[in-house]
């Protein structure tokens, strides 16, 4: 009779511990899933704003090339940069896990950024173009889009930071990798982003 009591008590204590372990792991697993989804949705937003910028370019090129004698080299540069951005095969729905892939994406987008800012600097030399309502609207949209890009990149980095911190914390550090939660790369400040673009006026090209 006493044995049953002891066995019952031991079993129930074991069951409780097991339940607690399962529940804690389950909860933190759910937590990791949530953070990982946060990174993915941040990534989708980043893609979204970059796409918004890419969509502005045909209109911009059309407007600018309508201006008399607009520098052709600036325009071809933009068209080429946009084409290389469009060729990036990158899943818009899940954030990249490979730092090299993110770096390549960033590099392509960075090339487009500098081509665009060069175009805006060059356009200062065309008063008629600058005065046109169409160009002014486009310029406002471009500036707003660049600002959105920096905001969404910041949000994305914040989400990645939360996620990376979580998978490296106790107790997740023991099992995060076995559930497939690996570290995710950040956006880095693009090299040369802090410097204004160099502008060369090549009057011979046309």
């Amino acid at each position: 009779m006493k044995k049953i009591v002891i066995i019952g008590a031991v079993l129930s204590v074991l069951a409780v511990f097991l339940l607690i372990i399962v529940a804690v792991t389950g909860a933190s697993y759910n937590h990791l899933v949530k953070l990982s989804q946060g990174v993915n949705s941040g990534w989708a937003q980043v893609q979204n704003v970059y796409q918004r910028r890419a969509d502005l370019i045909p209109n911009l090129v059309a407007t600018v090339s309508g201006a008399a004698n607009f520098e052709k080299s600036t325009l071809t540069e933009i068209t080429a940069a946009r084409a290389s951005v469009g060729q990036m095969k990158i899943d818009p729905n899940s954030a990249p896990t490979d730092p090299a892939k993110l770096a390549a994406f960033e590099k392509a987008q960075g090339a487009l950024s500098s081509a665009l800012s060069r175009l805006l600097v060059v356009s200062e030399r065309y008063p008629d173009l600058k005065a046109s309502a169409n160009f002014r609207d486009l310029q406002a949209q471009l500036e707003g889009t660049e600002n959105r890009i920096s905001v969404e990149r910041g949000n994305f980095n914040k989400a990645v930071q939360d996620y990376n911190t979580a998978i490296k914390s106790f107790p997740e550090v023991f099992y995060a990798a076995s559930f497939g939660f690996t570290e995710k790369p950040y956006f880095t400040a693009s090299t040369g982003a802090e410097q204004p673009p160099a502008v060369q006026f090549d009057f011979n090209k046309k």
Partner: protein
């Protein structure tokens, strides 16, 4: 040599500190129209504030104007204002239908910042037009009253049909989403704890049953709860928020901005 390096490192550290200290995010404003400089006549300020408050009742969109003496940040204006916007949580939580017109008098700069939900009604190009065509000419002439009245008119006209109102403001009485906090912050548990909490409770429940069965086999009395009802005293609503006047002032509804909008200088 090392000494010079140390001194340099300290200087750099000091510079970093001051660089960080240089940015001030102003606290959430108390009104819809906030003039911290005194360039606007009180009559105009009150009138515009009333209109913006009524606008939130009618459409639920939160439009805020904030006039500061100068920008307290080394960042660019679009970068700084989006941080301020998001710390104020302008706009309703699920609609993100807020917009803030920031004016920095000494910098002679302004920025109209839109929340995610108003990017459709107030696209960047329109923001630019409002600033360049409606506001700037008056500001150049030194007439801030006329400039801001024209600006507010244009913003309200653009955003009028976008959302339906509830007849209330976020600061209005009986609204949990006041204080600019998302309502999820007010729930009893976060999103992480409940599973642990419930599982522990469940675990103890199993333990309790196990022991009672074991004890019951023994023929003993078992465990019995001894009276004492569980009273939840923590959530008696003390209703400390009863707003004293009907004009409750501004309170952010929990919206956020992704950096939309446009700026200009005069």
């Amino acid at each position: 040599m090392t000494r010079i390096k140390t001194v340099f490192a300290w200087l750099l550290a000091l510079f970093c500190l001051t660089a960080f200290a240089a940015e001030v995010i102003p606290p959430p404003p108390a009104h819809y129209f906030n003039d911290y400089t005194g360039v606007i006549s009180p009559a105009t300020a009150t009138q515009l504030d009333r209109r913006l408050e009524q606008f939130e009742r009618d459409t639920s969109s939160q439009i805020v104007v904030a006039i500061f003496p100068k920008m307290q940040s080394d960042s660019s204006i679009e970068d700084y204002t989006v941080r301020v916007f998001n710390s104020w949580h302008v706009g309703q939580k699920n609609k993100n239908n807020g917009a803030v017109l920031f004016v920095f008098i000494q910098n002679r700069k302004m920025f109209l910042n839109t929340g995610y939900g108003l990017e459709g009604a107030l696209p960047d190009a329109l923001c630019k037009r409002i600033i360049a065509d409606e506001i700037t000419p008056h500001f150049k002439a030194g007439d801030f009253n006329a400039g801001l009245t024209a600006g507010v008119n244009a913003i309200l006209a653009a955003t009028k049909g976008e959302y339906k109102g509830t007849g209330q403001t976020a600061a209005g009485p009986g609204n949990l989403e006041m204080l600019g906090r998302p309502s999820s912050d007010l729930s009893l548990f976060g999103d992480y704890t409940p599973t642990i909490a419930t599982s522990v409770i469940f675990g103890f429940f199993i333990l309790f049953i196990g022991i009672s069965i074991a004890a019951g086999k023994k023929g003993g009395r078992g465990w019995r709860a001894s009276g004492g009802s569980f009273s939840s005293s923590g959530w008696s609503s003390s209703d400390s928020w009863s707003s004293s006047d009907s004009g409750g002032g501004f309170s952010g509804g929990g919206g956020s901005s992704g950096g939309g909008g446009a700026g200009g200088s005069w």
